[in-house]
Amino acid sequence: MSILGYLGFLALLVLIALGVPIGLTLFMVGLAGLSLVGNFSTAMTQSTIAFWSEGSKFILVALPFYILMGNLIYHMGIARRLFTAASYWLGWLPGGLGVASVFATAGFSAISGSSTASARTMGAIVIPEMRRHNYNMRLATGLMSSAGTLGMLIPPSIVLIFYGLMTETSIGKLFIAGIIPGMLVALIFSTFVVGMALLDPRKAGRGMDVSAVPLKERILSLLSVFPVLLIFGVIFGGLYFGIFTPTEGAIIGVVAVLAYAAATRSLTFKAIRESLADASLITVMLFLIIVGGTLFTRFLVQTGFIASISNFIIALELSYVQFIIIITILYLVLGCLLDTFGMMILTVPVLFPIALQLGIDPVWFGIYVVLVAEIGLVTPPVGVNVFVIKTVARDVPLGEIFRGSIPFIIAMLLFVALMTAFPEIVLYLVR
């Protein structure tokens, strides 16, 4: 029977490689597979049941509202204020503008759930500024492509919600667990920027003359980012102390952003309409992947495919570290071919049970998967963030942006090694 599973998996890979949408491929291959394993009538019944059971899960309500929150923030101009404040306070460092852009992106990520949105928004603000200060464009674009990935790690993260839905891991715990790794990755990125600026000062162009900015203006810049800190604090304070659920957190976040926008008149009706439309479309796209993934996973389970792969890997008697090294390599390869959601839907159903058998914490594994999947956002040929950054730095060749990302890919791998050696980095806040 498991040969059917292998054939199904192969058919899935071929259709995805040809460019058929991932959700549709999962749905159709899953349905065809279930028909072959059982019968067509049962498979058909599964199709509508999957739509209803997945689509009416209350936790799924969180998805459109975290996307909506990020979209509204994108239209409000908060990103520029974050960058201004960060550059006033961190601009004195070697490569200070780069360090400021990492922390501004981390701040933006704390209220936006999408990596692409973080790269797009911050890149459009930061890259022209870095160009004005004669920064090396390879460093600037590589840094911003990579810093954008913080959007996936620092909660609220759409990918963490996706992982939580797939594995039934607590989304609240995943969000809380993402905070320390997100901040540490930002810190490592900044250290790399400072190091590069020290080794070759020409790369960091003209430094910022922060002393020319009056103290009053610097303090005011901090006050202007206070709403971001407040929204982040309310959501994560609420989650951490168990006051509300991730879904309620999403609603409270949107209401807080709308209230702030109303007070400052920073949102137009058109921006709200566009944000709603985008949230609705992205939710449908993710929903189809979830439904298709449900059918496909049921098919794989029925064929014994997942059990046979799990048994094979467990029979290898890999240690925890060897397992992590192998799947990190697997994700690096897949990251060159698939986007984050595609990668996760193909690998998590197979790897998650193995990870549990090896005694790996599901929350830790979630953060790990998101982190290594993020690397795929900056690796050729489908590094989405690189393409996003290319739209704001049209004169910089794609190859140059990819090369610029290499130090930060190394930084992320360094962090993977760190969290593998010290799992408490991830689990400290959730224990």
């Binding site: 040809l18 009416s56 209401v255 939710t283």
Partner: protein, 163 residues
Amino acid sequence: MKALRAIASIMFALSAYVCLPVILVLLTADVSLRYLFNAPLRWGQELASILLFLSVVLALPHSWISRIHISADFLKALLSFRVREVVARLTWLLVLVMAVIIVWQCWRDAQFMLMINESTPELFVPLVYMRGALALGAGVSGVIALAKLLSRTSLVAEEEASL
């Protein structure tokens, strides 16, 4: 195709500009009542879930037209125009097959649900309405897919022109 686009747009408007804002208002009221007066809306979460389901199925046809669904396009540049055209038509054929299966199954489910009067636990909304909405979303998607398949113009050229 113009009429289909208009139908898909209306359904999408209901999804994005009616369902989502209503969920927002509903859950804001629910959360406020829970924390301020310890009196949550008992049916709030169920209604929110139903509205989310409606939002998703109503946006389905527009999602196909707007090509929001993610695909891996690393091979695309290497494929000839002819092969890309075949893949584009295969994609719409799969959308059509999926739509036909869902509509057909919704019809089968509906008969059974009407017989046992299956409904949601709190609000007692007959589940047959949900299958109706799903059939509508899938049906319109299927008709769009059929129109694309019958179209004589190149789907790849059309796709490239819209970029």
